[in-house]
């Protein structure tokens, strides 16, 4: 399935990171930046997130990537291919929030499942990352994680309350019946090709 705008598909990142599912836990410290106590505290924090939001889960990945083309691509791939062992099956990956941190590349990103698409946006997630920016700079990973998770939790709690009151505000206009994603994609591509040919003329 390709993006109608750019033609991106999961296969592109599978070529980089692998097409097999990856088994991991909610807290993965592949970079080894957390101390034992910090890992315990981080797990407790993520557990609290799950307790607060019975449908969602939050995962944190600390890694060191030598030549990572894009942290967004990695987050996208991990949330699609990751099999989180310590997450109940009732919480699918589409309801997950992933904080991925490239310790050597000094960048952090948030990726969230499409079930959260109505409730989270880039602006909200960037604010959460910005709040933790000083601690990322100082290498206080646990504290930075705490701030990101706290901000995301507050934002989600607020959206959950609002969604309960006015669920219509979060509903997007449904596509015409019978028109599937493939058809939409074909239509967009066709338009795209026709505009190109027009410009060449």
């Amino acid at each position: 399935m390709q993006c109608p705008h750019c033609g991106f598909e999961i296969g592109d990142v599978d070529e980089i990171f692998g097409a097999q599912d990856v088994r991991l836990k909610c807290l993965t410290d592949a970079a080894g930046v957390l101390k034992r106590k910090e890992r315990v505290a981080a797990r407790k924090m993520l557990g609290e997130f799950q307790r607060k939001f019975p449908q969602l889960f939050c995962a944190v990945y600390f890694g060191t990537f030598k030549e990572l083309p894009s942290l967004r691509q990695f987050g996208f791939w991990l949330l699609n291919r990751g099999a989180f062992e310590d997450v109940e099956v009732s919480r699918p990956n589409e309801a997950g929030v992933l904080l991925s941190v490239d310790v050597s590349g000094k960048s952090a990103g948030i990726t969230f499942g499409y079930a959260l698409q109505p409730f989270l946006d880039d602006e909200g997630t960037f604010k959460a990352l910005s709040a933790a920016h000083p601690f990322f700079l100082q290498g206080q990973w646990l504290r930075a994680t705490g701030i990101v998770v706290g901000r995301i939790s507050r934002s989600l709690a607020s959206q959950a309350r609002r969604a309960k009151r006015v669920p219509e505000a979060f509903e997007s206009v449904p596509q015409p019946a019978g028109e599937g994603a493939d058809k939409i994609l074909e239509r967009i591509r066709a338009n795209h090709r026709s505009s190109q040919s027009r410009s060449q003329v």
Binding site: M1, Q73, S172, P174
Partner: protein
Amino acid sequence: MRRIAAWGAILALTVQTGPGEDLPPLPVWSPSDFEKVEKGEIIPGHDFFGIFGTNSGGKPPDLLEEKLPEPLPGESESVEFSTEISRAHLILYFKGIPTDVDGEPVHLIDPQDLLAQQEFRDRQSFLKYHAGESNIDLFVYLFDARQELPEDITIESVYRDLYSQRGPVAVVFYYLGMPERAQLVLSGAIRAVASEDEQSRALRASVQEAFEKSDPAYQLDNFLVELSIRLYWIEREMAGLHQPKAADGTAGAVAKTNVKGGDKTWGLVQAAAMWIGILLGAGGICWLVHYLVARRLRYVFPEVETGPLLGAPHAAGVGAVVSFSSAQIPPSQQRDQVPDYLQRM
């Protein structure tokens, strides 16, 4: 005569001899005197200690040759003082609170003149001083050691009749020479602050202090000083912990207390501490309630109808990325706004 001269020489030497001086040789018995000493004709020291003459056989003379006069009939029986207080004195004791020429109340009531005038003035002066320094006036009724009051007159009834409208007072019945019989009653306002135990402790300590002296007047001195100290501490409790208030119906209203500067500060500190404690307690309770509520809170998202997201199983949303490579540049300028995957690899 020679013996006197010899003893005189010894005495003179004892007095005049100083350190470093050469001592003259000691006197020696002449052979004739020594012989008399051995025979017992001369007794050494007889001239100095000769009140028991050798002729009397060494027995002390009968110095009290005059015999004591014969006791008069009836005098040999022991004198028993009356334990009753005369009616005239009772009236003087309890007709009201006596005042002096200036109209000031007399704090030491002694119509029987059990104390000498100077003793009375000293103790009265002390009680007056105490009244000036303390808010609790101290009134002391003096009785003789074994005197008994009529049954209808008790310290409580005296307090009720004479002092209940007066404010914080301490009334004492003191039996001169028998401090252990002393009785103490405090006004209602004081009783509200000082427990029964504390009151009895104060009285016991005062009695114990009185027993430090043997003279009855000095015993009274010690008793009053100790009681005054104890009343001072009770007064501090009154001023610091509670504002004076009517403790019971019989005690009546209590005169307002002029709390001194130090006590006011202490009171303010205590009030501030109390309010801080209350605020902290309330804050703690609020926090606990919030914590418990927050722990129970669950956020469940309702089902909302959204359009298809290209049929992707997961992770349709792609969130933000921030770089933290530079501490000089704000996060907003380190935001990679263009998704990288738009640039095809």
